[in-house]
Amino acid sequence: MSVSGSKPSRNGRGKPAPGAAFYDLDGTLADLNLVHAALFILTNLGEWHRRISSIATLAASAPRLYLAERKDRRLLNQVLFECLKGVSVDRLVELGQEYCDRVLIKHLYPSAIELVEANRKIGLEPILVTGSPDFIVAPLCRQLEIRDFAANRLIVSHARATGRLAQPVMAADEKAQWCVSFATQHNLDLRRCWGYADSYYDLPFLIALGHPVAVNPDRKLRAAATSRQWPILRFDKSTDDESDDRSGAAILELSGRSADGAS
């Protein structure tokens, strides 16, 4: 299973939980995408020759990545993470933490984190549903005190990544299916849940939820949101108050969390 998260809550059956807010990560809560993550990991792998060969491999697969992105988001994930083949799991976990601390936190939209916290206050528990790998998403969730998340997971053999993603690959329809099964397990009424995503590939994910919101939507999602009368939200670092000089710690402060994840 390519999914991580907590065990089902102990809510009694027939008594729906207050609700939840499902968030995509890349492009929605943060102004980064999977390629940034892959590049960071590859450029920090260790020996120079390894870095160079990995980046060369990634560069060589650029046309494939482009075609994959146009065709199917699932395919993009698979092609992108092939270049992590052979990297030890320990190293990936370490790099994931480092990427989260040094890059990802700083690239979160401050107003997005404000929204996550405001939603939490009215009883909408945050849940991340993302195509990013679990070794990046897990530390982020710890920092933001997000209990549940769905992320992609690399298949590991002999403590090294095989370069293949475990099924189901978290993209498009699979995100929606995960939300449905999560809601069933946790006795959530999806009609009362909110969903936030930025890409047309997330359309099935958004449709599955009662309150879909298009965030910084791409052209196709914007058209879909307009025709379906969904709210369109904009997170913009340049227009967020004082966002330019907000450090990662300051962003975490917004959510009432400290950098080590303690509240």
């Binding site: 929204l115 939603n119 904009r234």
Partner: protein, 546 residues
């Protein structure tokens, strides 16, 4: 330092040729030989034959505009009502906040220079002349959408925009908790909250345009710069039901509440109000036939009308909307007053009624209203069904003093295509309100009880209000309450020319394909002898019903 003119001749108001009661042809009765009548129908116009005996009420012709608006403004600032001249209230170390009416006024937008630009240029210059540096300009949006940079630039003019945008010229934010302050409570236990910057200013100058008598007065500061915590005291079903009508501030529960709040504001702050009034010159020479009694159309008017309707009919909906919003009205300023809020407002109100009021004898059984393409809440946006309701039952129904134009239990026919379309960035909460809340109940008190708080506190809607250009989450509720006096008064509402009957049903209305059908539906219930009134607007008209 420049000094104000030591001597300035007193400006007399424009020569007012058109006095109330002396106007002819403003109330006409349709007879066998009468022409068809133009009826606003969203972003198009119907041209329909009305039943014989239908009473048609027209807007009075435009009052003459002030010959020199800039000089009139200068005079108003130097000779204010019940207050010292503006320059005499200034000292270099003071903190001044200028609040400005937002894009909801006037409608449609007026040709440049906007009255606000003219007033601001002089106010800002006076402040500079007297060495006042700590000046902020706040667009008094209350819970309306934030105006865009381009919209603000157009409104305040290039000079002020370049000097103050964006650090010292910005939209009010009713959800920025750190920038709000509670001033006190009224004797009716109403919380009076205000923008902190305004509350902490030594002088507050409010620059207003009175398009209708509902505007201005204490409503300017106490509403325009107040958050939900204050607005909920008067924007609720009970208070609005007690308003007969919104256009008659002396009989409006909402105005009584805002006056109480405004007095608290004025106890704490020094407020210098500048109010202005405009005439009914909504359309320029190309479209001025829209002002006219159709019986007096010339051949040239008919030709223009034909061309106008043909052009509108052959545009796509989006393009037609764009064309309409890009139109700017050649409104003329009929008066400007400055000084103490209530004294200024009395003068402005008198001029506004002088422009709009038409004496009308008695009520009728059926009232026909054409809902135009624009209302205060859809400038550069979409007129969604909730706003059609607000415009029809909230604004147009309330264009009266004394008694409503339609008798109690009568029928209102609203002409509008009534499409299920919304602007997802401007009106996100309207969509949920329409599809979820109205599906459960159309009863205003129930909506208030069940849903208002949830929408008002919804983080996504708050975010879109603060950082995007969305109306506040609670706004659709206010729009619904706005129609409450009409819903309490009339027996039936029929949407004529309705393209989507399920939309009318959601609003609790009946639907008719055509105006003829709507009239037939109404008369089948009220009898063939039912009297009909058609309120011919735009331009704006207020019926003084005896």
């Amino acid at each position: 330092m420049a000094r104000p003119e030591a001597k300035l001749k007193e400006l007399k108001p424009a020569d007012l040729k058109h006095q109330v009661g002396a106007r002819r042809d403003l109330v006409v009765t349709v007879n066998r030989r009468s022409e068809n009548r133009l009826i606003a129908y969203g972003d198009e116009y119907l041209y329909e034959k009305l039943p014989i005996g239908t009473r048609v009420i027209y807007a009075p012709p435009p009052l003459d505009e002030l010959p020199d608006p800039d000089q009139a403004i200068r005079y108003a600032l130097l000779r204010p009502e019940n207050a010292d001249p503006l320059f005499a209230q200034l000292n270099p170390n003071m903190r001044v906040t200028i609040a400005i009416d937002d894009i909801s006024l006037p409608l449609p937008q007026m040709r440049r220079p906007d009255i606000r630009e003219r007033i601001l240029n002089q106010v800002v210059q006076t402040l500079a002349d007297y060495g006042v540096d700590d000046v902020h300009l706040i667009v008094a949006t209350a819970l309306h959408r934030r105006m865009t940079e381009a919209e603000i630039r157009r409104m305040v003019g290039e000079k002020v925009f370049k000097q103050f945008w964006p650090d010292r010229l910005y939209n009010f934010d009713g959800e920025n908790k750190s920038e709000l302050v509670m001033l006190g409570k009224t004797d009716h236990n109403e919380d009076v909250w205000l923008s902190r910057r305004t509350a902490e200013s030594d002088l507050v100058i409010y620059v207003n345009i009175n398009l209708v008598p509902m505007d201005g007065g204490h409503k300017s500061v106490a509403v325009g710069l107040a958050p939900y915590q204050s607005l909920r005291h008067h924007h609720n079903a009970a208070t609005l039901r007690d308003s007969h009508s919104y256009m008659d501030p002396t009989r409006s529960g909402m105005h009584r509440s805002t006056n109480r709040m405004g007095r608290i504001v004025n106890e704490h702050l020094r407020v210098f109000t500048v109010e202005s009034a405009v005439n009914t010159r909504m359309f320029g020479p190309t479209l001025d036939f829209l002002h006219k009694n159709e019986d007096r159309f010339t051949d040239w008017d008919r030709t223009r009308l034909k061309g106008f309707r043909w052009a509108l009919g052959n545009m796509t909906n989006d393009f037609r909307r764009q064309v309409m919003y890009n139109y700017s009205s050649p409104y003329g300023m009929t008066g400007v007053w400055a000084g103490e809020t209530e004294a200024v407002h009395q003068k402005a109100l008198a001029r506004v009624f002088q422009q709009y009021a038409v004496p009308v004898k008695g009520q009728s059984d059926i009232l026909i209203l054409g809902v135009p393409f624009i209302c205060p809440y859809n400038v550069n946006s979409i007129m969604n069904p909730v706003l059609v309701q607000c415009t029809g039952l909230g604004y147009l129904f309330n264009m009266y003093r004394g008694k409503p134009l339609v008798r109690e239990g009568g029928t209102v026919i609203l002409c509008h295509p009534l499409r299920d379309e919304f602007h997802p960035e401007h009106h996100p909460s309207y969509i949920e309100f329409f599809h979820r809340c109205l599906a459960e109940t159309t009863e205003a008190t129930e909506l208030e009880k069940q849903f208002e708080e949830e929408f008002a506190r919804n983080p996504t809607y708050i975010h879109m209000y603060r950082y995007g250009h969305a109306y506040h989450g609670v706004h659709p509720f206010y729009m619904w309450y706005w129609g409450e006096p009409a819903r309490q008064h009339v027996g039936r509402v029929i949407a004529a020319g309705c393209e989507e009957p399920e939309v009318a049903a959601r609003l609790g209305w009946d639907a008719a394909d055509t105006l003829d059908q709507a009239i037939a539906m109404a008369t089948s219930e009220l009898g063939r002898s039912a009297t009909i009134t058609y309120l011919h607007l735009p331009p704006i008209v207020i019926a003084d019903v005896e």
